[in-house]
């Protein structure tokens, strides 16, 4: 029986120093090993998805609208010839639109989110990061979860096969992945069950909200391989996560959490693609539909139903490399609130 208390698991890891100068950071043997390992991660992700019939698209960096902010993150405005444009916080809207060209796509997408300042000490937030973004036309949530599981398992397998030297430099024992690579499917747990677990551990989790960062760390610390959390409540996610028609108030979505306390790796869902429902959901999430003109025009004219996800590249690298902080998985890290080159 695991006797780790919520308080123990939630205790912050020893504070990792903030990044040094770009020269110090880039010349560190740790950084070099991490970036080489990350190259293997990218290579393996492309290998796996390409082999499964996915087309890689290059996503836009700016647009009139992007994924609405979540958990207090601010978008970055850009003056685009006198119009307010945004740096992408997520490729989600463009991924849905792209399915009018291809049925299975992926992007390695850069994202910028001005996260709230308290995230500077979570060890797993960056203001600038990348996602392995996948979208599949006509897919269900289960289909998307299977692809996400396949990507993570393949990437980890390739790292173990090809990056043993880097893992050694980083002091990461490859045996940490034995359970992940055993072939046993990742466990699935509902949000409701996770909230109950957290309450049982004495953690005050809001049942209507995302699992908070401490809660994620608590759950993650109690597992030895990645696992899915499903069925988040409406009010905790954006308008594009589809509501379960058989279970009002619950979304057909999922998060994938890494083990060992590393927390969230990936978010995904079956997507809403019906015009009227998207408008109503936009209102429920406090959005002004007028902002989303080009997207709504496409939706009104018809886009495929789909499911997809985004895996945080730096977070996945951090987990595989066994790093204290996610910034160590970036060549030019931008920790929230810290002025960096």
């Amino acid at each position: 029986m695991d006797t780790t208390s919520a308080a123990d698991a939630a205790t912050p890891r020893p504070a990792t120093p903030l990044p040094g100068s770009p020269r110090e950071h880039l010349s560190s043997p740790v950084t070099r090993a991490v970036l080489r390992l990350q190259h293997t991660v990218l290579d393996a992700a492309r290998e796996h998805l390409g082999g499964a019939g996915f087309t890689e698209l290059l996503p836009p960096i700016i647009g009139p609208v992007t994924d609405p902010g979540a958990r207090g993150a601010k978008q970055v405005d850009v003056d685009y010839y006198g119009h307010r444009y945004k740096l992408m916080t997520s490729a989600i809207l463009y991924k849905q639109a792209s399915l009018t060209a291809f049925d299975r796509i992926f992007c390695i997408a850069p994202n910028v989110r001005l996260e709230p300042l308290e995230t500077s000490s979570t060890s797993r937030h960056l203001a600038e990061f990348h996602q392995i973004d996948v979208e599949i036309a006509g897919a269900s949530r289960d289909d998307a979860m299977a692809v996400a599981e396949g990507v993570v398992a393949h990437v980890v397998r390739r790292v173990v096969e090809r990056s043993a030297g880097e893992l050694e430099v980083l002091g990461r024992d490859p045996d940490a992945f034995a359970d992940l690579l055993s072939g046993t499917p990742f466990e699935r747990r509902t949000h409701t069950a996770a909230v109950a677990d957290l309450h049982g551990l004495g953690h005050d989790q809001n049942p209507d909200a995302e699992i908070d960062w401490v809660g994620e760390a608590v759950l993650s610390a109690k597992s030895s391989r990645p696992f899915f959390l499903t069925d988040y409540p409406k009010g905790s996610r954006g308008f594009y996560d589809k509501e379960n028609p058989a279970r009002a108030g619950r979304l057909l979505n999922f998060d994938l959490l890494a083990p060992e306390g590393y927390g969230e790796l990936c978010s995904g869902s079956e997507r809403e693609h019906e015009y009227g429902t998207i408008i109503a959901r936009m209102r429920e999430t406090g959005e002004n539909p007028a902002k989303y003109g080009w997207y709504l025009k496409m939706v009104r004219e018809g886009i495929p139903g789909s499911a997809g996800f985004g895996i945080g590249l730096e977070r996945l690298t951090r987990y595989i490399a066994g790093l204290e902080s996610v910034w160590q998985a970036s060549a030019y890290p931008k920790v929230p609130g810290v002025v960096s080159p």
Binding site: G72, K74, G235, R283, E284, G286
Partner: protein, 430 residues
């Protein structure tokens, strides 16, 4: 003109409309940006009472068991100075059952008076709401500047003056200006962190306000600005081309019970360390809306009676649209959360009646603006000092010694207006 007369008909108003056209649906254009609006105070000008709150009287009892409790506690006869006015106002601690309302969107409120009012509210330790108009009108206060009038200027003026442990700043955002991402901006801003870290930051979802329930923001802008804003807002040339000015109209936003519920849940999800306030217009279903908001986790529901609002509104709305504050309070009888009320409150008597009718605290809007216009350094402070003394006198006269102890029993109405009984705020039920 032929000399036609119609003495029993509002002839002058008809003639004005015949001359001016659509612009006559509004108060005189020359008052825009200079005058404060809202329903007239008919009671004080010799006319009939403005609403049932004005008509109602506070009625002290003969027998005062709570005074006996206080006497035992103090070992002497209690006086009005023994009344504790302290209140929990929407998740904040306040020395008085008072908060500073968000001001309207006219230039009057968003200019330096707003900063002066904020500094004094901070020194008083009462919570302050900053209107959603501040960022679009005066800027946020960083890269593009904006100084003291900006949102950061307003927050800083308050934060520098507020004592430890009391007060709070609530930043308003309506759905339509979600483009400005005011909440996200403040939540991730280093300048606001001391308030956030001390639990004194809140966000208010503006569903509507008293002066023009059912409408969004209406402002008057120059024709040139109108051209620039026409991409985002409806712009109407109701004042005629020769005026050089146009009406800029925002939408009130579309709400259903589910939309309101989910928006509040999203606020709690995205800003878990901020208090969540919801401002309701005086709609006929205000009680249902308030219940939905509290059930979804709102820390406070503010109801702005039809008397409320300092800003620009069509004269027909000022004269006859929206429930009076008294009726809002009657319909929300037995609030299940923190109810805040605003609408022509400026002194202790109307404030005490609101508290007796169910409100936890009252908002000062026009009164605060006029007070700081009278004296930018201390006008609001003196106004509130007077209100606080009146509240102590009134509450002690009712044989009570806490602001939250007032109940509908303390009210009598000559018109038969009644508020159903409820549990007084702060009462522990077993």
């Amino acid at each position: 003109m032929s000399g036609l007369r119609a003495g029993t008909f509002p002839e002058a108003a008809v003639r004005e409309r015949a001359r001016v056209g659509a612009g006559a649906a509004f108060p005189a254009l020359e008052d825009y940006g200079r005058a404060l609006f809202g329903a007239p105070d008919a009671g004080s000008s010799g006319g009939p009472p403005g609403d049932e709150l004005d008509a109602a009287r506070l009625v002290p009892p003969v027998f005062v068991p709570e005074r006996l409790e206080k006497l035992i506690d103090l070992a002497r006869e209690p006086l009005h100075g023994d009344v504790d006015l302290g209140a929990e106002v929407g998740g904040f601690t306040s020395p008085l059952p008072v908060y500073l309302s968000a001001f309207g969107s006219t230039q009057v409120a968003s200019a330096d008076l707003g900063r002066a009012a904020g500094a004094q509210a901070g020194a008083l330790g009462v919570p302050m709401v900053i209107g959603e108009n501040v960022v679009p009108v005066n800027g946020y206060g960083r890269l593009a500047g904006g100084g003291g009038r900006s949102l950061l200027g307003r927050i800083s003026a308050y934060a520098e003056a507020v004592p430890d442990g009391v007060g709070g700043v609530v930043v308003q955002q309506s759905t339509e200006d979600a483009d400005a991402e005011v909440w996200n901006l403040v939540y991730s801003d280093p300048s606001a962190r001391p308030l956030l870290d001390s639990g004194r930051l809140g966000f208010e979802l503006k569903v509507g306000q008293g002066a023009k329930p059912g409408l969004g923001g209406l402002t008057v802008v120059s024709s040139a600005d109108g051209d620039r804003l026409s991409e985002q807002f409806a712009v109407e040339p109701v004042f005629g081309a020769e005026s050089g000015r146009v009406l800029r109209c925002a939408s009130p936003g579309t709400f259903t019970e589910e939309i309101l519920r989910q928006q509040i849940r999203l606020m709690r999800n995205n800003f878990p360390r901020a208090r969540v306030w919801v401002k309701l217009p005086p709609g006929r279903d205000v009680a249902v809306a308030a219940a939905v908001a509290w059930e979804a986790g709102a820390d406070a529901v503010t109801v702005d009676g039809a008397e409320g609002g300092s800003g620009w509104a069509p004269t027909s709305f000022l004269a006859g649209v929206g429930l009076p504050l008294a009726e809002c309070l009657r319909r929300i009888a037995g609030p299940t959360g923190c109810l805040l009320a605003s609408g022509r409150v400026w002194e202790g008597l109307r404030a005490a009646k609101c508290l007796a009718a169910g409100a936890r605290a009252v908002g000062l809007g026009r009164a605060a603006l006029i007070a700081v216009d009278e004296d930018p350094e201390a006008g609001l402070t003196r106004l509130v000092e007077c209100l606080a003394l009146e509240l102590r006198l009134l509450i002690s006269a009712l044989g009570k010694y806490r602001a939250g102890a007032l109940t509908p029993d303390d009210l009598w109405s000559p018109t038969g207006w009644t508020v159903p009984a409820r549990t007084p705020a702060g009462t522990v039920t077993r």
